[in-house]
Amino acid sequence: MENVLQKIAGWIPLLPLIGFFINGLGRNLLSKKAAGFIGSITVLFSFGLSLYVFFIVNGGNTYLAHYFDFINLASFKIGFDFKIDQLSSLFLLIITGVGFLIHVYSTSYMAEEPPKDFAKYFSYLNLFIFSMLLLVLGGNYVIMFIGWEGVGLCSYLLIGFWFKDTNNTNAANKAFIMNRIGDLGFLLAIFWLLAKIGTVSYDEVFSAVNLARLSVTDIGGITLLMFVGATGKSAQIPLYTWLPDAMAGPTPVSALIHAATMVTAGIYMIARSNILYTMAPATQVVVAITGLATAVLAATIALKQNDIKKVLAYSTVSQLGYMFLGLGVGAYTGAVFHVMTHAFFKALLFLGAGSVIHALHGEQDLRNMGGLKKYMSVTHVTFLIGCIAISGIPPFSGFFSKDEILAAAFAKNPVYWGIGVITAAMTAFYMFRLYAMTFLGKFRGTHDQEHHLHESPPAITFPLIALAVLALIGGWVGIPEVFLHSGHKLEQFLSPVFAQTNTYVEIHHLKNELSHNTEYILMGTSVVLGIIGIWYAWTRFSKYERTDLKSTTGVNNLLENKWYVDEVYDSAIVNPLKSISLFFNNVVEKKIIDGFVNGVGRAVNYSSRQLRWLQSGQVGAYVLLMVIGMLLLFIIQLFL
């Protein structure tokens, strides 16, 4: 069993890698069909393997697969290990599953690309799957970091996929650099761990012995640095601005990387090191507040966006905020749960949006859409499901996960809950604003667009349907206690992962239980607020007409310009860096240092020119100088 697991676990990431190589090297030879097929099939296979692994793990046995020594020194040893347990297997399913659907979707969505780029696209996509799997499978932080940077690279490559346009490449650079900042935090955390306890493998780090060796400041510092990493990857304040720009990439990419999988890496990491966070309450507060703030901020911005993908992007950011809130208040299961559901409905929404954009030949502005209901029914229905799910209306999946987080937040601090619920309402509002502006009313686009309007091909609709189903039922694995005793299958499934935390919580009595009534009340309020949001959006935008008069109240500008965060960053960080570099280059380097070096040479030249005048060419002068020299010597010798 063990070595079977080892082999299988090895093959899961290996298959996409192989796909990457085939597509990457043979991209001039492969036809589109072949490339797409290879790309998808490899992922499909690894999805199958993941399922297998999942069932084994569900059987209760986890396994640490050691392949070879990555780095092996006297003072520490980093193995190339895979950790196969509940958490990783769950993520495996999400990644490969959603990944596969999106591959299929892409085969049709990217069809216009020339075969070369088509193959390139799929190779990138496979590479991404590979790195993501590495990230979640990694048996220690270093392997996780390898995947961590790998996904960053892939998102960079895919955002800049259409690199002829400088905006895209700018967005790509921004994404990579912001991620890099986060990665730095992560890296430093790893150094810290190595310096303190000389190991990075999960099992050893979380072993009681090593935890005992870590002081409070250590844990606090390490967790904070890791969280910095998470903010980079998962687009939290202050490093979230890259995600909206990342929408420059192809839509499936946005669905896969920037909604379903990569951006949840941060959550995965924190969930993975849950015990550390549980032991660092200060960090938890930071995480919770950051998450909450991000959720609110992003939601507010999303209210005013007119680019369909931008809206979704901001909603992603805000949902991620939710997850972090969950992590911050210790509801790790809830966070992971939300990751899952979010993966379903957000991928769905993005793909739906993609389908719309595809139908409108790249039109992304909501104001030029509307009334698509009658043209593309499948997309419309699935999209609607997605919207309801995200708005947290039971029994759709979003409800359960979001509710769990909110409940835990309330348990920790009612204020969290209050803000969270308001955000939820906003979410409902802007999602349905989006829905209404897209599908309701009458078409506001140009005529030939209207002419070509059509439902998307099956390759696109099939994933939509699949995801819609998941978005609908995906939440039922986590039915809260209040409804159904031991209905929370997911919690039971994941409990081994969070066992340490739970025991710790037990010991220190950190958990304060909520009575069932309060839970009912909370749910009720959130649902009601959600519905209010939906209703308001419906009434306001179902008959939306193009109006050129812009409402120019301060708040409006603020929101439309995303709180001017980008501008602030530019003026606070980017430009200063540029100017100081220029200063170094033009002043310090050229003038001071090099100036000094050349100055020495010039000094020699100058003194040479001066000394020449001693050589006056007149015997009298020479003798005089000699006599003075004699005088000097005598004085030195006789009187000194």
Binding site: I146, W148, T169, F191, I580, L582, F584, N585, E589, V597
Partner: protein
Amino acid sequence: MLGTYFTFPELLIWLPLVTGITCFFLGKEKLAKDVALIASLITLGISLISLCYTDAKYVTYNYVSYVWLKFVGNTFYVGLDSTGRLLTLLTAIAFPMIFVATYKTKQQKGASFFGLMLLMQAGLMGVFSAMDALLFYFFWELALIPAYFLCSIWGGEKRIQATFKFFVYTFAGSLLMLVGIIYVYLHTPGRTFEDGTYASHSFALSSFYTSSLSAPDQNWLFWLFFVAFAVKMPVFPFHTWQPDTYDQAPTGVTMVLSGVMVKMGLFGVIRWLIPIFPLATLHFTHTVMILCIIGIIYASCLAIVQDNLKKLVAYSSIAHIGLMCAAIFAMNEVSVQGVMIQMFNHGINIIALWIVVEIIERKTGVKNISLLGGVAQKAPVLSIFLVVIALANIALPLTNAFVGEFLMFTGLYKYNGWYTFAAAVSVILSAVYTLRMIQKVFYGKTNPVTETITDISLNEKLILAVLVVVIFVVGVYPQPFINLTKEGVNSLVAVLKS
């Protein structure tokens, strides 16, 4: 035969030296080119073979010593320890790469070009295998002089001034080192030679290690040596010769300079500075580190605003070297191990980077980032290679540089967290300038300059492919290299423990 008549270090030194001298007399460039290529390949073969004989029982294969200058107790004493082995391997790899990569580029008086190149190789080999201070100094200069001529004869338009600065700079540095060597020499115990003659002092490395130097002496001698090495590396305030020289030198030479020659400085620190002046080292660690870290950030910032592709690479190299130097002075097993492996990796990466830069410059005739763009459309293969190499240069995981930098940072962190934080900023900055370069050069729309550019030829593909393979092999499975250098690391760390 091996071990009795010949030893690896001798072969590695004499082969390039002899072929180099012969090259001068082969009039025709083509012929000289081929001879040089073959010779360098044989050298590579030898150094690869030598990897199989690292074991202690092969000591006669790896070490040899003849009496040379009896009066001053100097011997021709060369040997391959683990550090030296790694760097000689790097040298051996570098030259054939360069010869193949620049195979197409014609230069007048080619024969002497290749002759000088081989002489330089001999010098480098000598530096890395010399076990005698005077010998070390000889080779040190022997490596410098050909570089000077190569740069000044075949360099760019401002070559003479740039190279001259480089020369005087390094020459002054090494003279100071010479004085230092003499001073230490006079504090070494006497020795009797194989043939019975007695010298009151000796230049042998071993007796240098056992020299009786008081702490105050060490403190100023340290700087005499360090300046020489710092100029070569170069460390922050002594670096100004480098960008100009790299910019002006012919690319083949630049590859050697940046790929191998800078390692001379690091190597010198590892073998000649720290073990001889342990007290002073401990005393000045912080000073040096702060210099290095300033250098890292400073150079990275400069790299951000460079328009000249070559200067950009030069500054990035300064940043990397600064990190290595800092890591050496952190002086724990991890950091030194990192440096060892990184010396090799940096060599590979920067050479690969230069090859790409050279191709671009040759194809477009410009080296200004601002004038380029859209190359990726015209030369996709080239751009893929560049992206890979550039990412290796910024130490992305699974590339070789990641291993080195990871270890160095870890070790540095063990030494002092704050330094690590400061130095690690370069991780971000390096991403900034590298991506900027990729974007400006390869992405975007094509312009008149890049319209006509064609993709790379087979031999270039071959070389780059080899290098990329090395990059990934070391990046994914670094353990063999770590084992290769372990012994050296331990010995060095042991010196500092005591």
